[in-house]
C-alpha cells in the first residue's frame, strides 16, 4: 500500500507491506514518540483527509478504525498511528515539495537529513529477530461444541473457550476423523525493534498435525497465521493426545525454536455431535465426560460402519432387564434410568442391563455424541389377536403392544399375551418367570421391546436377549405362541394365569 501525504511544503510517501521498497532512503525515527510527533500535523491537515483515510484502513481493523478517526486527542491519535505503523514495518519517504492541494505524482526524492542515531544502536531495519514464542493456538476446524463438565453424566458446563491452548490453559476438542485440522497460531517475534522479513512457520507433530505457513511476512511483535494441515486425520474413532513443535525459519535471521504446544487432546468422531435435542433428551449434549466415554466405547470396535458400532454397543447388554440392580446407586433409577443424572449415560459406567428404552436412550446418546449417521428408536413388536400371524410394530409408548388388549367373555376378562414357552389351553401357570424347581415359569409378554436402528437403507432390530433380527416378522418369532389368558387367584398359590385359548404358534 502506498499513500501520499503532505506536511507543510513537503510530500511524503507512506509504504506498508512492501518490503524492500527503497528502505535505504526512508526516514528514520528512533522511537514511536518521535514518529508520533512527525505524524500529528499530517493527520491534522485537512488536505490529507483522503490519504489519512486510506492509511487508517490499511493500519486498523474496521472496529479499531472507528476509534482512531481524527479528533480532539491529536497526540494520542498520532501515537496510535505511529505504534501500528512501526509494528507493521511501514516506511516513509520524503518526496518533492508539495504542490497546491497535495500531490500523488512521483517527483524525485528530496534529501531529508537522517536523524543522528546513537553509534552503537543499529537502525531499526538492521536489528535481527532472535525471539520467537507461541502465544496461543486456536483450532478452527473442530466442532466447537464440547463443554467443560466432567463431574458426572449431566449435560452441564460451558463450551471450552478459545484459544484451546495458551499459557496455563489446554482444552480438548472434538473433530471429524477424516478432515484436515486447521488452526490459527498467534506468536510473538522480537525484539520489538527487530527487522521485518519473510519467514516460514512450521508446526511438527504427527503427519495429521503438521503445518507449514509458506513464505509469510513476519514482523516484530504479535503475528497471527492461519494454517491447515495438508493431510486429513486418520479414519479412526479415537482420543488423540499430540504435541506440536514450532519453528520459525527467517530469511534473514535463521531458524528460531518456539518450543511445543499441547498435548492437544483431539476426540476424533464420525461427524459433528448432534445435540439439537438437548432440551428434550437427557442424553443429548456434548460434555467432556460423555465424549470421553463415547469415544472409548467406539474405539473398542474401531469401525466406520455405524451398524457395527450399534451392534457393539448392544453387545454390552446381552439382555434387557426389568429388575432393579443393587449394584447401581439408586439415584440413577436402574433399570429405567429415568433420572436427572444424565439419563441413560450412566449405563456407560455400570454396564448393567436395563430396560429396553433405557438401552435405546443410551445407544442413541452415544451415536449422537459421535455424530454417527443413522436413527435409532424404541419399538415394540407383537401380534394382535385380530391377525395372529401378522407382526405389528409400534413406538414404545403408553398403549402400545398388548398391554391393554382384552375382551370380556361372560364375566371373565381375557387378556392377550405372547409366551416364551409352549403353554397348554386350560392349564394354570404362576405369574411370569416365577422361580420353579429347575427353571422359570413361562413368561406372558405384552411385546418384544427392540432397538430399531436404520442407516444406509438398512434396518436391524435388536431384540432383548434374542439378538439381531432383520424384520418385525423375524422378531415376532422370538415368541412361541399368541394366547388368550385369564388372571385368577389360586387359593394356595396366589395369583396366576389360566391359558384360555392358543391363537397362534410361531416356533
Amino acid at each position: 500500500m502506498r499513500v501520499t501525504l503532505i506536511s507543510g511544503a513537503t510530500t511524503y510517501e507512506f509504504l506498508l507491506g512492501e518490503p524492500g521498497g527503497a528502505r535505504g532512503s526512508s526516514l528514520q525515527f528512533s522511537s514511536t514518540e518521535e514518529l508520533a510527533v512527525f505524524l500529528a500535523p499530517i493527520l491534522r491537515d485537512p488536505a490529507n483527509h483522503a490519504g489519512v483515510a486510506s492509511l487508517r484502513r490499511a493500519l486498523f481493523t474496521d472496529s479499531a478504525a472507528s476509534m482512531v478517526r481524527p479528533g480532539a486527542q491529536d497526540t494520542d491519535l498520532a501515537r496510535r498511528y505511529a505504534q501500528v505503523f512501526r509494528r507493521q514495518g511501514g516506511l516513509i519517504h520524503g518526496m518533492a515539495p508539495a504542490s497546491a492541494g497535495g500531490g500523488v505524482g512521483a517527483p524525485p526524492p528530496v534529501s531529508i537529513p537522517p536523524k543522528p542515531m546513537p553509534p552503537l544502536t543499529p537502525a531499526v531495519h538492521d536489528v535481527p529477530l532472535t525471539e520467537f514464542q507461541i502465544l496461543d493456538v486456536t483450532f478452527t476446524s473442530d466442532h466447537d461444541k464440547l463443554k467443560d463438565y466432567d463431574r458426572d453424566w449431566k449435560n452441564l458446563g460451558k463450551r471450552f473457550s478459545k484459544p484451546e491452548w495458551r499459557a496455563g490453559a489446554n482444552h480438548p476438542i472434538s473433530h471429524n476423523q477424516d478432515k484436515k485440522v486447521a488452526l490459527k497460531v498467534k506468536f510473538k517475534a522480537g525484539p520489538p525493534e527487530g527487522r521485518t522479513q519473510y519467514g516460514v512457520l512450521t508446526g511438527k507433530g504427527p503427519f495429521y498435525l503438521a503445518f507449514d505457513s509458506g513464505r509469510r511476512f513476519i514482523s516484530p511483535g504479535e503475528n497471527t497465521l492461519s494454517l491447515e494441515c495438508p493431510k486429513e486425520l486418520p479414519i479412526s474413532i479415537v482420543k488423540r493426545r499430540e504435541e506440536i513443535a514450532w519453528t520459525l525459519k527467517l530469511e534473514k535471521d535463521g531458524v528460531l525454536d518456539g518450543g511445543s504446544t499441547g498435548p492437544h487432546v483431539i476426540f476424533c468422531t464420525y461427524d459433528a455431535p448432534r445435540d439439537d435435542q438437548a432440551g428434550k433428551r437427557q442424553e443429548d449434549g456434548v460434555t467432556s465426560k460423555r465424549m470421553e466415554a463415547a469415544v472409548e466405547l467406539a474405539a473398542e470396535i474401531d469401525t466406520d460402519v455405524p451398524h457395527k458400532l450399534v451392534d457393539h454397543l448392544m453387545g454390552m447388554f446381552p439382555r434387557y432387564s426389568l429388575s432393579t440392580s443393587p449394584k447401581i446407586p439408586p439415584q440413577y433409577g436402574h433399570p429405567s434410568y429415568q433420572n436427572f443424572e444424565g439419563g441413560g449415560w450412566a449405563m456407560a459406567q455400570f454396564r448393567e442391563p436395563g430396560e429396553c428404552q433405557a438401552i435405546v436412550r443410551f445407544v442413541t446418546g452415544v451415536i449422537r455424541q459421535l455424530g454417527v449417521p443413522g436413527e435409532s428408536e424404541s419399538v415394540v413388536v407383537y401380534a394382535h389377536p385380530d391377525a395372529p400371524q401378522t407382526a405389528r410394530e409400534d413406538p414404545l409408548r403408553p398403549g402400545s403392544g398388548l398391554t391393554a388388549v382384552a375382551i370380556l367373555v361372560g364375566e371373565s376378562r381375557w387378556k392377550a399375551a405372547l409366551t416364551d414357552q409352549i403353554v397348554e389351553e386350560g392349564a394354570f401357570y404362576p405369574p411370569s418367570h416365577s422361580r420353579l424347581d429347575g427353571g422359570k415359569s413361562p413368561g406372558f409378554n405384552s411385546y418384544e421391546a427392540c432397538l430399531k436402528f436404520t442407516e444406509g437403507g438398512r434396518t436391524i432390530y435388536y431384540a432383548g436377549g434374542a439378538g439381531q433380527k432383520l424384520s418385525a416378522e423375524h422378531t415376532l418369532h422370538c415368541f412361541k405362541q399368541l394366547i388368550w389368558m385369564e388372571r385368577v387367584a389360586h387359593p394356595a398359590k396366589g395369583d396366576g394365569i389360566i391359558v384360555r385359548k392358543v391363537l397362534a404358534r410361531y416356533s
Binding site: 429388575s323 439415584q331 436402574h334 404362576p430 413368561g443 405384552s446 396366589g494
Partner: protein, 205 residues
C-alpha cells in the same frame, strides 16, 4: 369367574399377615435386591421428604414372608413395612413386590364438609406422593370409602404406574396405593417370590 381385582387381592394378602409374622430387620440386613427395588420404587412414587432410608430418619423396618394359602388362611405375600414420621404424621409404608401402600392417621379427612375432606385428601396425597393424580371422590367421604384417579383402566392394563393411583379410608386411616407396573409383561410379577430363599429363611427362623 369374576374379573381379577388386584387391589382386593393385595389387601387380602396384607391383612393375612399376622402380627407375629413381622420381623424387625436392620436396613443393612435387607436382601440387596429387595432394598434396591424398594429404593427404586419409593424414589419414583414418593416425594423426597416422604422417603424411607433418609439419613437421620428413625424408621422401623419389618418384613413378613410369603406363605401359601390353606383352606382356612389366605395366601400371604412377601411384604416390607416401614414406620416413620413425616412432619407430624405417623406414616406406615407397606411394600409388596407389585405395590406401594401408604397409610396414615388423618383425622381431618373425617371432619368438616365433603369439600374440606376432599381437599385434605388431595393435600396429603401431594404432600407424600409424586403421582399427579386428581382422585374421583365419592359423594360422601367416610370410613370404608375407596377411590381412584382412573376408573377406566385396570392396574394390570396400565403402561405405567402413573396412569392410575388409588386410595381410601380404612380403619380410620387414610391410604394411598401405587402399583409397580412393568408393561412388558401381562399381569404382575410373582408377589410371593420377592424375597430370596435365604432372606425368607432368616425371617422364618
Amino acid at each position: 369367574m369374576p374379573v381379577f381385582d388386584d387391589l382386593a387381592y393385595w389387601w387380602t394378602c396384607i391383612d393375612a399377615a399376622p402380627a407375629e409374622s413381622w420381623k424387625e430387620v436392620r436396613p443393612d440386613a435387607l436382601d440387596a435386591q429387595v432394598r434396591a427395588d424398594s429404593e427404586y420404587w419409593c424414589r419414583q412414587q414418593l416425594v423426597s421428604d416422604a422417603l424411607p432410608y433418609l439419613p437421620g430418619r428413625k424408621e422401623a423396618i419389618a418384613a413378613s414372608p410369603s406363605a401359601e394359602g390353606t383352606p382356612h388362611t389366605p395366601v400371604r405375600l412377601d411384604l416390607l413395612r416401614h414406620r416413620y414420621k413425616v412432619d407430624d404424621f405417623d406414616l406406615e409404608l407397606v411394600e409388596g413386590r407389585n405395590f406401594t401402600l401408604l397409610r396414615l392417621p388423618a383425622p381431618r379427612v373425617l371432619q368438616g364438609s365433603t369439600a374440606q375432606r376432599g381437599a385434605e385428601i388431595h393435600r396429603l396425597a401431594r404432600m407424600l406422593m409424586t403421582g399427579p393424580w386428581t382422585f374421583l371422590l365419592p359423594g360422601t367421604i367416610g370410613e370404608g370409602i375407596q377411590f381412584t384417579s382412573n376408573p377406566d383402566v385396570l392396574p394390570d392394563e396400565t403402561f405405567s404406574w402413573k396412569e392410575r393411583g388409588d386410595g381410601g379410608i380404612r380403619a380410620g386411616k387414610l391410604w394411598f396405593l401405587c402399583s409397580r407396573r412393568i408393561p412388558d409383561i401381562v399381569g404382575f410379577h410373582n408377589g410371593m417370590q420377592w424375597f430370596s430363599d435365604e432372606f425368607r429363611g432368616q425371617l422364618l427362623r
